[in-house]
């Protein structure tokens, strides 16, 4: 019994998750946690030593565990076509980058399409919520402002952004937002993306059987595709979404499954693209629909977010968050969900089987992401309000089917403050009349803040849920490192109470606590969904440009991490951070260990080229120490590793100076 309890606790550090896992076990429902326990990862695939890019394979060329191979043994370790361990590991790795960049790029494309429909007046339900961001984009893209209407400006912006996907030559426009030195590094290495789609297509071509067989050359194109994500697809998504739905500003909300209310019609919106969720947020407050819900016996309508869609609507509307990636099935296990509405990315197919055990309707809304057995209610971008209304109505109609004896909602929820976009950080530090990163830079230089860390990424059922995020973040805070966070990592931090200003006093070293208290910010700043990692790039660029901390992102006392990464998007994000000059540590598992040479290239060789490099450390505290050591190395290089002796000059000394 004690062993069983311990085994369950090893699955998650989150109380609500443990309660729902117990309920699922009582009711014989299989979840991702059970499946991970029953199916071990394929050791050959996990090391990147399996090539299935042609029908002569799949070829498996595993590296013997814990033994050094001789050159002869290494030479024998090739696929049928002769592909080496290096080529195979690199091909697998860059294909992950291609898929990740494609996901963010396609997200961006959809956002631009909706934006264009709005600008053309073809949909009346969307509007420009942040004119400031529209004007910023006009300046970025060289669009004439004058006395033109917002929609005229928006249409030009939409057309230019649309072209960024299909562009064949030149450079992506947002590249010029990076520090000047960084741009030069990219140009010298020939990795500046020409067009978002082109770089992904070329990468897929190069990994086809019999094409690029030089791992360094493969990684150059991998970098190009990754930069087309971070400084392309992702950045376009973030900027246009801010324009249409509002740039995030500090917002109070709550997180965890305890935000579900038994008396409400509960709708969870899950996925990544915010257009539908925005409309659901608006329509869930419609008095007519609320009355309709009451007519069915409910008290109201409760809209709750899940995964990155949750981050989007929470930052802009304060809509509470049900949980992060590994909690999606568990939200249904509460028995209190009338509908789970999903669009794209990170949606487990296992949801359908869990939903079948309850009255919950799993509603597909996107034709790119259909789930067998789920209801399909397409989101019509020309009539988004009608689409949202229909979905909410379907959920309300399902309320009478709820079985009261199956409902159990864990009473666990935590307050958080989110919405720390680059613009808001700039404003909070400097005020409206001289917004600035100066106070941040000054406090890094004077040592109150030791450095900056971006802790981002997914959950992974192969490691205890949320545990690595929290151990790492707490270690960083204790050492005066300010943490910027996005995605499921941010949600993990919020659930542990790290996203309220009071957390600074409890978890931070004295210097960081003092700064957080003075500015009134939490020590972990929630910057948005995983697509919003581009906000971290811009914030890092602003720190560089403000001065005093070097000329490039690679000079900053900063590091990045994804301790519980799982998706291909995480690899794309990691590569664009490395290529932007950031030391980036991943946990859980590393997908190239089948080739020592290629792995060494990622962990060491990249630094010479980009100033940033990859690292792998599954122990989150040790990983935090690696990040802190890197931060200290950068502080030393900048000459800010020691407090300088303060000399009070008297008149004689001044005269001597002037002389």
């Amino acid at each position: 019994m004690a062993e069983e309890k311990q085994a369950k606790q090893e699955k998650s550090i989150d109380q609500a998750t443990l309660e729902m896992l117990a309920k699922a076990a009582e009711e014989g429902i299989s979840t991702v946690f059970d499946r991970a326990e029953h199916m071990k990862p394929c050791p050959i695939g996990a090391d990147g030593s399996c090539c299935k890019n042609c029908a002569m394979g799949p070829c498996r060329i595993p590296l013997g565990k814990g033994k050094d191979e001789t050159p002869e043994e290494h030479a024998r370790r090739v696929g049928v076509c002769g592909a080496t361990a290096e080529t195979i590991a690199a091909r697998n790795f860059v294909r992950m980058i291609a898929a990740g960049s494609a996901s963010h790029g396609d997200h961006g494309r959809r956002v631009v399409e909706a934006f264009k429909l709005m600008a053309e007046g073809k949909t009346k339900d969307f509007e420009i919520k942040d004119e400031q961001k529209l004007l910023k984009l006009a300046l970025d893209l060289g669009v004439d402002i004058g006395d033109r209407s917002n929609n005229e400006i928006a249409l030009d912006i939409a057309k230019i952004c649309e072209r960024e996907f299909g562009k064949q030559e030149g450079e992506l426009i947002f590249i010029k937002n990076a520090p000047l030195k960084r741009q030069e590094i990219w140009r010298e290495l020939g990795v500046v993306p020409r067009g978002i789609d082109r770089e992904i297509v070329e990468l897929m071509h190069r990994t086809h059987m019999g094409v690029d067989q030089d791992y360094k050359n493969l990684m150059l194109q991998g970098t190009r595709a990754a930069l087309a994500d971070g400084w392309g697809g992702s950045m376009i998504s973030t900027e246009i979404q801010d324009c249409m739905f509002g740039t995030p500003t500090p917002t109070f909300s709550e997180i965890n499954l305890g935000v579900l209310k038994e008396e409400n019609v509960n709708i969870v919106v899950h996925g990544h693209e915010p257009a539908l969720a925005e409309m659901l947020a608006v329509e869930s407050k419609d008095p007519e629909l609320i009355e309709y819900a009451k007519s069915k016996g409910a008290k109201g309508i409760g809209l709750v977010g899940m995964c990155c869609t949750a981050n989007e609507v929470m930052m802009r509307h304060g809509i509470p968050i049900g949980g992060n990636y590994l909690q999606q099935e568990l939200a249904i296990v509460t028995g209190a969900l009338e509908a789970m509405v999903v669009d794209v990315q990170c949606i487990m197919q296992g949801l359908m089987e869990v939903a079948r055990c309850f009255h919950t309707r799993l509603i597909n809304t996107d034709n790119r992401s259909r789930i067998s057995g789920a209801d399909y209610m397409p989101f019509d971008e020309l009539h988004p309000r009608e689409s949202a209304k229909a979905i909410i109505k379907a959920a309300i109609d399902n309320y009478p089917n709820r079985q009261a004896d199956k409902v159990r909602i864990p009473q666990v929820k935590t307050p958080l403050i989110a919405g720390f976009s680059h613009e808001t950080i700039n404003y909070l530090l400097g005020g409206l009349f001289r917004a600035s990163y100066r106070p941040l830079n000054d406090n890094i230089i004077n040592g109150r803040i030791r450095g900056l860390a971006g802790v981002v990424g997914c959950n992974n059922a192969r490691t205890p849920h949320d545990s690595a995020h929290i151990l790492m973040i707490k270690e960083l805070l204790k050492n005066d490192v300010l943490v910027l966070s996005t995605g499921c990592a941010a949600m993990a931090a919020a659930k542990q109470g790290l996203m309220v200003p009071e957390a600074a006093k409890e978890f931070c070293g004295p210097g960081l606590a003092e700064v957080c208290e003075t500015v009134g910010i939490p020590p972990v700043l929630h910057m948005g969904a995983c697509i919003d990692n581009s906000r971290i790039l811009i914030a890092a660029t602003a720190v560089v440009k403000d001065g005093g901390l070097g000329d490039d992102i690679s000079d900053l006392p900063a590091a990045g991490a994804a301790p519980e990464w799982m998706s291909e998007k995480a690899i794309a994000i990691g590569q664009y951070f490395v290529a932007s000059g950031v030391y980036t540590v991943f946990g859980t598992t590393w997908p190239t260990t089948g080739s020592k040479e290629f792995t060494k290239y990622l962990f060491e060789g990249m630094e010479e080229m980009y100033g940033g490099k990859w690292a792998f450390e599954p122990d989150p505290v040790k990983a935090a120490h690696l990040m802190i050591a890197h931060i200290d190395k950068k502080r030393k290089a900048l000459g800010i590793d020691k407090a300088r002796e303060r000399i009070l000059y008297d008149m004689a000394m001044r005269r001597e100076l002037e002389g």
């Binding site: 942040d130 004119e131 400031q132 004007l135 910023k136 300046l139 970025d140 402002i145 937002n177 520090p179 000047l180 509002g246 740039t247 500003t249 500090p250 917002t251 109070f252 304060g318 919405g419 613009e423 808001t424 700039n426 404003y427 400097g430 005020g431 409206l432 009349f433 001289r434 917004a435 600035s436 660029t541 602003a542 560089v544 440009k545 403000d546 001065g547 005093g548 901390l549 070097g550 000329d551």
Partner: protein
Amino acid sequence: MEKKATSKTAATGSADPAEKFVKKQAPGRGTVEILAESYEPGEPEGEEAGRWRQKLGDRNEKIKYLKSGERYWYSDDWFGSEKRKNPA
């Protein structure tokens, strides 16, 4: 000390809250008019707390903010790592 806040905002029609002045006694100079505080009184509360973007009024004010607040990208009037007072 006498402290009386006046605002030129209404008189000039400008929406710039920086143009708020107070009269104070200065040693040896009598009453002088100086710039008043620019922060908002009280503690923000309710749904609007934290929504600072709405403070920016018309389009000109927004562009002006971009050139000051986001000066690293949209103005020449700044100094930093890429525009040094004393070149490195």
